[in-house]
């Protein structure tokens, strides 16, 4: 049964053109009073370019209408439930957007003298303290631009410390449930990756680490709760083993939204961890960033933190650039400051109790879904989860319906799908993280949709396998995109767009 699109001939609205396919030569939405003088007087014409070929030429309304229409082709937290596992798509408070745009923040120049940046430095200092308190660590650097850069920075800190002790070591142990950035960051830090498997209950056994751990291992990277939404119950024992052999524990704190006020990473024996402010601390994900991935460390590691460090002298703040043992700079200036302002605003609004409540409700929402879907979908691990729960398509596979099909069909019900096919240890994983900012009514809507899809999968599998129908475009040919990549618009024919 082939299914006609809902965008059938009756609906004749055009799909948006590319910005390069609109406009007209000579058009511009911009005016600036001409300065007197000639360019050539100051810059040799040999260094000057001609007009930028095919660059846009549109009016202001044209541009706005183009991007407004594009925006209408996105799902987003503010219009849909967005239970993307491991991504903590919680509400992004509007007040954060207001304060981040205050001229005192948005128009602050990073290389102005520190005396002229005391407000910003105060905020950064206080945010460091807040995050240290929340994570139970000693010191924090706000530099890293996102989680992955936090991982890289954290591993560099470990390496710098080990070098300082005389031996950088060779390996990093990474569980099979880890996010892809963990092994990637390890490699980028010059380490070989040793993968260990989690046990049948989805967590790492101390014994497994015991076996893999030796004097060549610099660190073990642990995600807690892990990507199965399970708390790594043996983390203390593991930390003991690793520390006993001179290694360190790196904690991937992307899932901190499950732990605030419940269990601090510090006491778990963690040496360094990163936080995803664009997850736990409500900064908007922006369709793929910007985010921020601060690292928090023990006292031992603090002298290796990246520069600049913010130092308080009396009631003034200064920047310290020369810290002999520092790993150096991981990016220019101060990190993604605008994002840090938002996180500061969020923590200020919630206070300690609010953060704890957030984590508790995140657990409640996840387990509510887990319970309600457990009869119709196969649970990867049938026990209470933390902030997210993982199902599989095992039951639906009987009628040939896969996780991908279920995800696509959810789009027709107006919900964003869960994260799919991750973590890799679960075949056909559906990783559902509702977050605490969703109401039980919304969860029930989503649950209804999932149950209906389970029924559809039995009764009319084709309906599910051909989904979605209600989206602006339907399933896209990803193979074609990869085979002959077209990565830019070109005025000439698309042919020459293929790789040589």
């Amino acid at each position: 049964m082939s299914t006609p699109s809902v965008n059938n001939q009756r609906s004749r609205a055009r799909a948006p053109k590319l910005i390069f396919e609109t406009g007209s030569p000579g058009r511009s939405a911009f005016s600036w009073p001409a300065e007197e003088g000639k360019l050539e007087k100051h810059i040799p014409s040999a260094l000057l370019r001609n007009d930028i070929a095919n660059f846009p030429e549109l009016g202001e309304l044209e541009v706005l209408r183009h991007f407004t229409r594009l925006s209408q082709r996105n799902f987003a937290i503010e219009s849909q439930f967005y239970p993307l596992g491991s991504c903590t798509m919680k509400y992004n408070p509007k007040i954060n957007e207001i304060v981040a745009r205050l001229p005192g923040f948005a128009e602050a120049h990073p290389l102005a003298p520190p005396e002229l940046l005391q407000g910003a430095l105060t905020l950064l200092h206080e945010l460091e303290l807040m995050l240290a308190e929340i994570s139970g660590m000693e010191h924090v650097s706000l530099q890293p631009s996102a989680g992955a850069q936090g991982e890289l920075t954290g591993l560099m800190l470990i390496r710098a410390c080990l070098v300082d002790r005389g031996d950088p070591r060779k390996k990093v142990i990474v569980p099979d449930t880890a996010h892809g950035t963990n092994p990637a960051s390890s490699a980028l830090c010059g380490y070989d990756v040793v993968q260990i498997s989690s046990n049948e209950r989805g967590v790492i056994d101390a014994a497994t680490v015991e076996k893999a751990m030796d004097e060549t291992v610099a660190a073990v990277m642990i995600t807690n709760p892990n990507t199965l939404g399970l708390f790594e119950t043996n983390i203390e024992a593991i930390a003991e083993i690793v520390h006993a052999r001179g290694g360190m524990i790196y904690l991937d704190g992307a899932n901190l939204n499950a732990l605030m006020g419940i269990a601090k990473p510090g006491p778990m024996g963690v040496d360094v961890l990163h936080l995803n402010l664009h997850k736990t601390f409500s900064t908007p994900h922006g369709g793929g960033g910007p985010g921020a991935g601060p690292v928090a460390v023990t006292r031992t590691l603090s002298e290796f933190l990246p520069v600049p460090r913010i130092i308080k002298h009396g009631d003034r703040f200064e920047l310290q650039e020369n810290c002999p043992k520092s790993v150096g700079r991981v990016r220019a200036f101060f990190g993604n400051f605008g994002i840090l302002v938002r996180a500061y605003s969020y923590i200020t609004a919630l206070g300690g109790d609010g953060l704890e409540d957030a984590s508790r409700m995140a657990l409640l929402n996840a387990n509510y879904i887990r319970k309600k879907l457990a009869r119709s979908y196969h649970l990867a691990y049938d026990e209470p989860c933390m902030h997210e729960c993982i199902f599989t398509d095992r039951l639906q596979q009987r009628s040939g319906v896969s996780t991908l099909d279920i995800a696509k069909r959810l789009l027709d019900y107006g919900h964003h799908p869960p994260t799919i096919y991750f973590p890799l240890v679960v075949s056909g994983a559906l990783m559902i993280e509702p977050t605490e900012t969703e109401t039980p009514e919304t969860l029930d809507d989503f649950i209804d949709a999932m149950l209906t899809i389970a029924a559809e999968a039995k009764e009319d599998p084709e309906l599910v396998k051909d989904a979605p129908y209600a989206t602006p475009v339907r399933r896209l040919d990803e193979a074609k995109a990869a085979r002959k990549p077209v990565l830019r618009w070109e005025s000439s024919s698309r042919a020459d767009n293929s790789e040589d």
Partner: protein, 448 residues
């Protein structure tokens, strides 16, 4: 509680549905030894009004162009941003969506990124661009890493210009420090302020992986990419250009026109507020033949099952979530909303607007420079042509900065921390946002 909608009735009913009688039951498997005994020690929750007051208070303790005359650049520039830019990036559909893993409901973000990739290719005259990286500095580091992946492993030397932004050099060093078989060497700059390409020719040898230059460089000087390219070609090294002021590319020959192999830079100038240096984005463009070695996201064009054009994330086999430790980079979340701002900005200004804005920078900066020379006897340290910033030597620089501060002026960035030999010099930047009166006041103040 703020942002958690659950009423006590909701909580009761949900606990019942789950079949437990307290939330604690949900984390009973957290070892007692790890359970947090004391509450998080932070101030109490406050109202939205209080948050606003609190942050407005902090913001008021930073200098802004509204109350200070700042002649600051050095990688972050104060440029005009049309109000339409923020209107678009504020739309929740863009701001509160995730990385476009589900293309059917992410065509907005995907098409915008495809347009962004094209705009960067046009601006740099390069063949392909990725969907951006964290910032200009990490983009420079990723460029070196990609070059290293592509070049034969016998090559081990990375040559980096000392005239490149000091933060960028530091970041490249940080990224390379832990990797085997690679050494970083600095190439000095000449009296022009440009990289000394003769010295480069002498030093490059046949084991160089790549050469990294600023274009324009940290001194605002327009480096000589054509000589550099000639040297690199002979030596089989990649030439990497790093642009911290992308607005300059609206008037300067594009890196691609010189045959640069990888063109990277900081995108802040293109519609992103200064915001203490972040968030903005790093752009990354190169030859098409390098595409499968590139770091970061790539958006490609395809069709849906009904033949309609659509866009998807593609060549994901390069990336960490598929390739894990063998990935071309560890980057995951990037800076998409900032690239959207740049896409809207470039679309609004367009061919003529971007050029006229760049010209305004050149003319205003050179005008200010000329007056300072005349009135205040400040001399340029370097002789090379510059875009919108220039290094000036001040006999008594302490006094000059102090005088200016009294008049709420910061004449530029002091170079002593970056270049000991330039301890009496500073980098003065003039953009279209520095009003004529400000320049008058600067000239007058410095002239005293």
């Amino acid at each position: 509680m703020r942002y958690t909608p659950h009423t006590s009735a909701d909580r009761e009913q949900m606990l019942r549905a789950i079949g437990i009688d307290s939330i604690e039951a949900l984390y009973q498997h957290v070892p007692a030894t790890l359970r947090q005994q004391s509450k998080i020690n932070l101030p109490e929750a406050v109202s939205e009004f209080a948050v606003r007051q609190r942050l407005a208070g902090l913001a008021s303790h930073n200098a802004t162009p509204a109350d200070w005359s700042l002649f600051l650049g050095g990688g972050i520039y104060h440029h005009f941003i049309p109000s339409a830019v923020d209107a678009i990036i504020s739309r929740a559909e863009f701001a509160t969506s995730y990385t476009p893993y589900q293309p059917e409901v992410s065509q907005g973000t995907l098409q915008a990124l495809f347009e962004y990739q094209t705009l960067i290719c046009q601006l740099t005259e390069m063949e392909v661009s990725n969907a951006a990286l964290y910032d200009g500095a990490s983009a420079a580091a990723e460029a070196v890493l990609m070059s290293r992946r592509i070049q034969s492993s016998t090559r081990r030397r990375v040559l980096i210009s000392r005239a490149l932004h000091p933060h960028y050099r530091a970041v490249v060093a940080t990224y390379l420090r832990n990797l085997p078989h690679v050494e970083l060497e600095e190439i000095p700059f000449a009296a022009t302020g440009a990289t000394d390409t003769e010295e480069l020719a002498r030093r490059i040898g046949d084991q160089a992986i790549c050469v990294v230059l600023g274009y324009p460089n940290f001194f605002g000087v327009i480096d000589d990419l054509s000589s550099a390219k000639a040297v690199c070609s002979k030596a089989g090294a990649h030439l990497i250009s790093v642009t911290t002021e992308p607005l300059s590319l609206a008037v300067l020959k594009a890196p691609g026109e010189f045959g640069v192999d990888i063109a990277v830079g900081e995108g802040q100038s293109l519609g992103v507020p200064m915001s203490l240096g972040g968030p903005a984005f790093g752009f990354f463009a190169c030859h098409k033949k390098f595409v499968r070695s590139m770091p970061g996201r790539l958006v490609g064009e395809t069709v849906d099952c009904e033949g309609r054009r659509g866009f998807v994330l593609t060549l994901a086999t390069r990336e960490q979530h598929i390739r894990r430790e063998k990935a071309t980079s560890n980057i995951c979340t990037s800076q998409t909303l900032c690239t959207l701002a740049a896409t809207v900005f470039m679309s609004l200004l367009g061919k003529s607007g971007l050029r006229s804005l760049a010209e305004a920078n050149v003319l205003r900066a050179h005008d200010a420079f000329a007056r300072l020379q005349k009135a205040a006897k400040l001399e340029a340290v370097f002789s090379g042509p510059f875009f919108n910033e220039v290094v000036l030597r001040a006999p008594d620089i302490e006094r000059l900065f102090a005088q200016c501060a009294e008049h709420k002026i910061v004449p530029g960035i002091r170079l002593k921390d970056y270049y000991p030999e330039l301890s009496d010099s500073f980098l003065m930047t003039v953009t279209e946002m520095n009003q004529r009166e400000e320049i008058e006041r600067l000239v007058h103040t410095v002239g005293q």
